[in-house]
C-alpha cells in the first residue's frame, strides 16, 4: 500500500510537470515528490486516514505557474464553437473511414463534411491567433489559438488519407475488372483469390498516390506552422489526451517489460511448429506437416522465390527478437513490425502459390495455424505498446 501511495504521489507530480523535459523534469519531480511523500507519511500517521493525508499532500504542491507556465496556460482559454468544430471534424474523419466498408457514398459525404468543418474551424482559430498577436500583442494567446488550429491535423489527415485510399482503390479495382470486359465484376475473375489480389494491389497503388499527396500537404502545412510559431514540433491532441490518463495507470506494465520479448519469442516458435498443409504440384506431392517443414519444402526449384519471402520474414523476426532480448531498451516496436511482416509473408505466399504456381496452394486446415498465431502475438504486443504509451513511460523505454 505504501509503495502504491508513493507511486500515486509521484505520478501526480509527473503529470503536473508534463510540459517539462529531460533532466530538469527528472530533478523537479524527484525533489518535489520526495518532499510530498515524506509529508504524506507524517499526515497519514497523524490521521490514520490515507485518503485524507493524500488530499492534504496534493494541496501542499501549491502554484507552480512561475516555473511551469505551460500547464497554467493550457486551459486558460474558454472553449468555443471552433473547439467543437475541430473535435467533430476529427471524429467524423474516423467515422468516414468506417463507413467505407458500409457504403462508399456515405463515407465520401462524411469525409467531405469532416474536411469542411476542419477547414472552417482551423481557419477561424488561425485568424484569431493572428488577431491576438497583431492587435492585442498577446503572444501567449497567439500560441494557444495557433496550436488549437493545428492540433487535430495529424489525426484527421491519417483518417482522410485512409478513407480516400480505400475509395480510390475501389475505383481502380472496378477499372481493372471493367478492362477484363465483365458485365458482372464478380465474374471477371475465376475465384475469390484473384479478386482479393486485384483489391489488394489497387489499395497499395491508391495508398501510395493518396499517401504521397497527403504527406506533402501535411508537411507543407507543418512547415508553415514551424515558420510562424518558431517551434520545431506540435504535440497532437491525441498524444495530449494520452498524457491526461498517464498518471492513473499501475506499474504492471513495467513489471511485465522484461518478459515481453520472451513471450513474443514463444509465439514465433509456436508459429513455426504450427500445422500447415501444402499442395505442391511437382508430381502431385502433398505435405501435411508443420510450418517449419513447409518452409523447407518451398525451397525447391519453382517455388524457392516464395520460400525466400517467408525465410526473410522469419529472419527479420529473429533479428528483432534477439535485439529486443539483448537490448535494455527492449525494441518491442521492431518486434511488432516483424510480426506484421510475418503475417503479410504468409498472405503473399498463399496468394502467389494459388495464382502463379499451377496446382499449388496452402491449406489452413486448422484455426491453430501459423499466421493466426502471429496475429494473436501482434495483437498482444500492440496492446503492450499502447499501454506503455498511455502510461507515459514510452520515452524512457524506447
Amino acid at each position: 500500500m505504501e509503495g502504491f501511495m508513493e507511486d500515486r504521489i509521484k505520478k501526480y507530480v509527473e503529470y503536473h510537470f508534463r510540459f517539462k523535459k529531460g533532466k530538469e523534469k527528472e530533478d523537479l519531480v524527484e525533489e518535489v515528490s520526495g518532499n510530498l511523500i515524506d509529508y504524506f507519511y507524517q499526515k497519514s500517521e497523524a490521521y490514520g486516514d490515507e485518503d485524507r493525508a493524500y488530499r492534504e499532500t496534493i494541496a501542499r504542491l501549491g502554484d507552480f505557474s512561475d516555473v511551469n507556465p505551460e500547464a497554467a496556460r493550457q486551459f486558460s482559454l474558454m472553449p468555443g464553437i471552433y473547439d467543437v468544430g475541430l473535435i467533430t471534424a476529427a471524429v467524423l474523419s474516423a467515422f468516414g473511414l468506417v463507413a467505407v466498408f458500409l457504403h462508399t457514398s456515405i463515407a465520401f459525404i462524411l469525409t467531405v463534411l469532416s474536411i469542411s468543418m476542419f477547414v472552417a474551424s482551423a481557419y477561424y482559430t488561425y485568424h484569431k491567433a493572428q488577431y491576438e498577436k497583431n492587435v492585442n500583442g498577446d503572444i501567449d494567446t497567439f500560441y494557444l489559438y495557433l496550436d488549437k488550429s493545428f492540433s487535430y491535423l495529424k489525426t484527421a489527415f491519417v483518417f482522410w488519407a485512409l478513407t480516400f485510399s480505400l475509395l480510390l482503390a475501389g475505383m481502380f479495382a472496378n477499372v481493372i475488372m471493367f478492362m477484363n470486359a465483365a458485365s458482372n465484376p464478380f465474374e471477371a475473375f475465376d475465384n475469390i483469390g484473384e479478386l482479393v489480389l486485384v483489391y489488394f494491389f489497387s489499395f497499395v497503388l491508391a495508398a501510395i498516390i493518396i499517401g504521397i499527396f497527403f504527406y506533402m500537404l501535411y508537411e507543407r502545412i507543418m512547415a508553415h506552422y514551424r515558420f510562424i510559431s518558431g517551434k520545431e514540433d506540435l504535440e497532437g491532441s491525441f498524444k495530449k489526451g494520452l498524457g491526461m490518463v498517464a498518471f492513473e495507470e499501475s506499474s504492471f506494465i513495467v513489471s511485465v517489460k522484461p518478459y515481453a520479448p520472451w513471450v513474443m519469442l514463444v509465439f514465433a516458435l509456436i508459429s513455426l511448429l504450427a500445422p500447415l498443409s501444402m499442395v505442391l504440384d511437382f508430381g502431385s506431392v502433398y505435405y501435411d506437416s508443420i510450418a517449419l517443414i513447409a518452409l523447407f519444402n518451398l525451397m525447391q526449384p519453382g517455388t524457392y522465390f516464395i520460400g525466400i519471402v517467408l525465410l526473410v520474414a522469419y529472419g527479420f523476426m529473429g533479428i528483432a527478437l534477439i535485439k529486443s532480448i539483448r537490448d535494455e531498451d527492449k525494441k518491442m516496436g521492431l518486434v511488432f513490425i516483424s510480426f506484421i511482416l510475418g503475417i503479410a509473408a504468409y498472405m503473399v505466399v498463399g496468394l502467389v502459390l494459388d495464382q502463379f504456381v499451377e496446382g499449388s496452394y496452402i491449406m489452413f486446415t486448422s484455426t491453430f495455424n501459423s499466421p493466426f498465431i502471429l496475429l494473436v502475438g501482434t495483437m498482444l504486443v500492440g496492446i503492450y505498446l499502447l499501454a506503455i504509451k498511455v502510461r507515459g513511460t514510452k520515452e524512457k523505454l524506447d
Partner: protein, 106 residues
Amino acid sequence: MLLTGDLLRGHTDMILLGILARGDSYGYEINKQLEEVSSGAFVLTEATLYTSFKRLEGKGQVASYWQKGTTGKKRKYYGITTLGKDELKNLQNSWQEAKKIIDSLI
C-alpha cells in the same frame, strides 16, 4: 494568525537562509521545522519552497546536492554558502532596524 503567516511570507528568503545556517537540510525537513516553530501558522507550499531555493541558488547564496534523507531515501539537500551567510547578516540587520521602528510606532 493568518496575518502572521502573510507577514512571514514576505521574509521567506531570510527564514530559509536562517534555517540553513544551522545546518544543511531539505524541503520536507525545513517545512517541518517551520510548522513546529510557528505552531502551524507558517507553512510553505512546495512551489514557494522550490522557487525560493531556485532564486537563492541563482544568487549563489545556497548550494544543492543529492543525499539520502532521514527516511533513507534520496532527497535534494540545500546548504548555505559564504555569500548566503553574508546576505543573512544583512537581512538580519535590516530586520532588527525595521523591528525597532515598528516597535516604537505601535
